[in-house]
């Protein structure tokens, strides 16, 4: 490969590593990395040097899945999806900087493709090591697993590269994306139908395996699917070899297959610059959009949207943030749309309530809704971290506004709290409606609903506040360029752990308040439902007070935050 391009890639990786090492000098970043390394050590790499007998069942299952027929099917389906749904232009994954510097440079197209393959290889090697560690329960030796996964991942990369070039050549021959999709989909369906039709006898009889595994093995061994899968089986063979000698002999067909794919890619090579530049722009725009706070909605184009409500020039400034964030979220986030969305599951639950013979399903729905509400509370704020990180993108402007830090924080948090809160209230309502029909004393369900409905919004607010607090404490982790390897994993683990800790800590005073109030109410009023409701209300007010305190702290943190200092680390 071109020396300059090798230098670019290796130097960039080395600098990223050095940057990570530099950040380790600061305890908070060192802690994050330590957490991730400890996690990897205990849960991923420990089996490699573990001598304490048999591996856990889950580990064996993962090992079996990664090396078994299911993995082969997944690779096949991914390749098929690439052919069917892939674009018609050969767009290779270059960054905008690479497009700007390398495309106008006096470099041969071949050198750029080699650079792309080289970059892919670095990821493939890391991936092979990781998969090999994860597949510790497969029973194959570690070295063999590394080689085996390297072959599989390299094959996948080269095939996709050759596919991209071939698709553009097909376009030149008049076979555009739509026609290609139709033809290949029809071929795939025909292949599966023909295989299904020629399937013979009980699965276990031919494969010695029974159940789902046996059915799958039998199907994959049936022509014509077996013929199509033959090259893939050759690629998987080194991974599944019974011994080192067998692995070496399995490499004999696998490596020429890789070489053939490389030659195919080089022979099929077409001009990829324009499509790659467009792709780089799109990726960059998507990244910017994610950072600007549209999170998962970043895939959608920005559109002119009507105001969710009339925004008067005077009033609380936080409402302006709510207004702006609602526009950003899209028309589905309007109060009317949310009511419509909530009405569907509630109406369905009422339907189940009306028919006694469906009460079994009603019980399941009620439990599921309750569990989902708790799950959304725990996981929702973590999933919204991309949107919350947008606060850093706008900070140059928002910090110059005549607003207190807590006002900016509250403004940024209002929409995620409102949206998740609306979803949780819907789930709680469904759970309570179900429980009300099944409980002996429906008043308890009503009290439970009231309590949960009162407690959920402040708890949701608190969880979002905790998430943002962690982000304000560690802003450097929210630069997308820093989202790599050890730090990313450590960050997520710490965030989950931190959120749980905040949740538990917040509930202690709330539980004390609830116990005191409901106990007093029980003694004075002698009503279970009323005392439970009052207890929940006391808990809600306590959590709300905690959120207000957290908000003040977050505001102060935001006012003191010096991003230049944090983000240059």
């Amino acid at each position: 490969m071109n020396g300059a391009l090798a230098y670019l890639e290796l130097r960039s990786r080395a600098n990223a590593l050095l940057g990570w090492l530099r950040r380790l000098r600061e305890p908070r970043y060192a802690l994050g990395s330590l957490v991730m390394l400890a996690y990897f050590g205990f849960f991923v790499f420990r089996p490699l040097w573990s001598t304490d007998g048999e591996l856990p069942r889950a580990q064996r299952s993962v090992g079996g899945l990664l090396t078994g027929d299911l993995a082969l099917v997944l690779v096949f389906l991914s390749l098929a999806a690439g052919w069917i749904f892939g674009g018609e232009r050969a767009a290779l994954g270059f960054t905008e900087a690479e497009v700007n510097f390398l495309f106008p440079a006096p470099l041969e197209r071949r050198a750029l493709v080699h650079y792309r393959i080289f970059k892919g290889q670095l990821a493939v090697v890391i991936g092979a090591l990781l998969y090999a560690a994860l597949a510790a329960g497969s029973g194959y030796p570690f070295g063999q697993r590394v080689v085996g996964f390297w072959v599989v991942l390299s094959f996948f990369n080269l095939h996709m590269l050759a596919r991209a070039f071939t698709c553009e050549r097909l376009l030149a021959l008049g076979l555009g994306a739509k026609r290609r999709r139709a033809v290949l989909s029809a071929l795939l369906v025909a292949l599966l139908a023909a295989t299904w039709a020629s399937r013979a006898g009980p699965a276990g009889a031919s494969t010695g395996r029974f159940g789902f595994e046996g059915e799958l093995a039998a199907l994959l061994g049936t022509a014509p699917l077996a013929w199509v899968l033959a090259p893939l089986r050759a690629i998987f063979a080194p991974l599944r070899a019974a011994s080192t000698a067998e692995m070496l002999s399995a490499l004999a067909p696998a490596l020429p297959l890789l070489a053939a794919h490389y030659l195919w890619a080089m022979r099929a090579m077409v001009g990829f610059e324009e499509a790659s530049a467009t792709l780089a722009e799109k990726r960059s725009a998507r990244l910017r959009a994610v950072r600007a706070g549209r999170g998962l909605l970043a895939l959608r184009e920005a559109k002119v949207r009507v105001d969710p409500f009339a925004l008067a020039p005077r009033g609380r400034a936080e409402v302006a943030f709510l207004w702006e964030r609602l526009i950003a979220a899209g028309s589905w986030a309007s109060p009317r749309s949310l009511c419509g969305i909530a009405a569907l599951p509630i109406a369905a639950t009422l339907g189940l309530r009306a028919v006694p013979s469906w009460h079994g399903a009603l019980r399941t729905v009620s439990i599921l809704a309750g569990v989902l509400a708790v799950y959304a509370l725990m996981v929702g704020p973590a999933l919204a971290r991309g949107s919350l990180a947008a606060i850093f993108e706008r900070i140059d402007v928002t910090k110059s506004y005549p607003l207190r830090g807590w006002q900016v924080v509250l403004g940024e948090l209002l929409v995620p709290i409102a949206l998740l809160g609306a979803g949780q209230l819907t789930l709680i309502t469904v759970a309570a409606l179900g429980a009300g029909a099944l409980m002996e004393d429906p008043r308890l369900a009503i009290a439970g609903w009231l309590g949960a409905a009162a407690l959920t919004p402040p708890l949701t607010a608190l969880m979002f506040g905790a998430q943002l607090g962690l982000q304000l404490a560690l802003p450097a982790w929210f630069r997308p360029s820093q989202h790599v390897g050890v730090e990313l994993g450590g960050q997520r683990l710490l965030f989950v752990f931190g959120s749980m800790l905040v949740f538990a800590a917040a509930l202690i005073p709330a539980a004390v308040a609830a116990a005191a109030i409901s106990g007093s109410a029980w003694v004075l009023l002698d009503s279970r439902a009323l005392s439970a409701g009052l207890g929940a209300l006391a808990a809600a007010l306590t959590v709300l007070a905690e959120f207000v305190l957290l908000l003040r702290w977050l505001g102060g943190k935001l006012e003191r935050l010096d991003l230049a200092s944090d983000l240059t680390r």
């Binding site: 600007a292 925004l311 526009i327 110059s400 207190r404």
Partner: protein
């Protein structure tokens, strides 16, 4: 009135801005000049309350930015070099948002007038993605001017503007100054600064190397009386070591 006294900003061992003091009175336009990495943007960001200074005080129209940040910021507008706009708000919605943040009663009429003045009258329904770089810059400027700030901080305000936009911007800056606003403009376009600024502050390595009116700076630091700001700039930044309080 903008008053900066002993402003220092440190990042670990690096001192980005060192003991910087200056004042901009109503009607004055100060050009902040310096080579790349001289600390211009850091100075502006500290003056806008975006980053806290390590030392020193900043007063905007008499309000201490550290002690009375809200009162100071109500009188302030900061227009960064890169226009930071909301992807999903139209030009008109941007102005409505800003009106609420700054509590501007006559926002609809004033916003429309500003958009017309900046040549964006037909772009009220446009999203930032549909605007050119220069138009985005103009929209950011319109947002900054909506609340009639008495102190303006502009970081490279002409970046991306077309010739007509540059001319209009110069006129706008002069009008703002004549209306009594105090302006600080950071720019590498020395011609612009000569045309618009009444005063100039030259910084190097985070420290002041010269300040005063354009005439004073020329008199003290140029070899010829008809020297341009460019001549003065190179004379000071290519040879002179940085020194504080080197007042002209």
């Amino acid at each position: 009135m903008i008053e900066v006294e002993g402003l220092t900003k440190r990042y670990g061992d690096l001192t980005a801005v060192r003991d910087l003091s200056f004042a901009v009175r109503p009607g004055e336009v100060l050009g902040l000049v310096g080579p790349n990495g001289a600390g211009k943007t850091t100075t502006l960001r500290a003056m806008a309350g975006v980053i806290p200074p390590s030392q020193g005080t900043i007063r905007i129209t008499g309000f201490d930015l550290a002690r009375e940040p809200l009162a100071a910021k109500r009188e302030l507008a900061f227009i960064p070099d890169e226009p930071r706009l909301f992807d999903h708000l139209t030009a008109e919605q941007h102005l409505r948002f800003i009106a609420r943040v700054y509590q501007v009663d006559d926002a609809p009429a004033r916003g429309a007038a500003l958009l017309a003045e900046l040549g964006l009258a037909d772009k009220t329904r446009a999203l930032p993605g549909e605007l050119s770089r220069g138009m985005k810059q103009k929209l950011a400027i319109a947002c900054g001017l909506l609340h009639r700030p008495r102190a303006l901080l502009l970081d490279e305000p002409l970046t991306g503007l077309d010739p007509a936009g540059i001319r209009a911007m110069k006129q706008t800056l002069r009008r703002l100054a004549s209306d009594g606003a105090a302006l600080v403009i950071s720019s590498h376009l020395l011609g612009l600064l000569e045309a618009v600024c009444t005063h100039v502050l030259i910084v190097k390595d985070g420290a002041k190397v010269a300040d005063g009116t354009l005439g004073e700076v020329r008199r003290h630091f140029a070899e010829r009386p008809d020297a341009s700001l460019e001549d003065v700039f190179f004379a000071l930044t290519e040879s002179a070591p940085s020194a504080s309080n080197d007042r002209a």
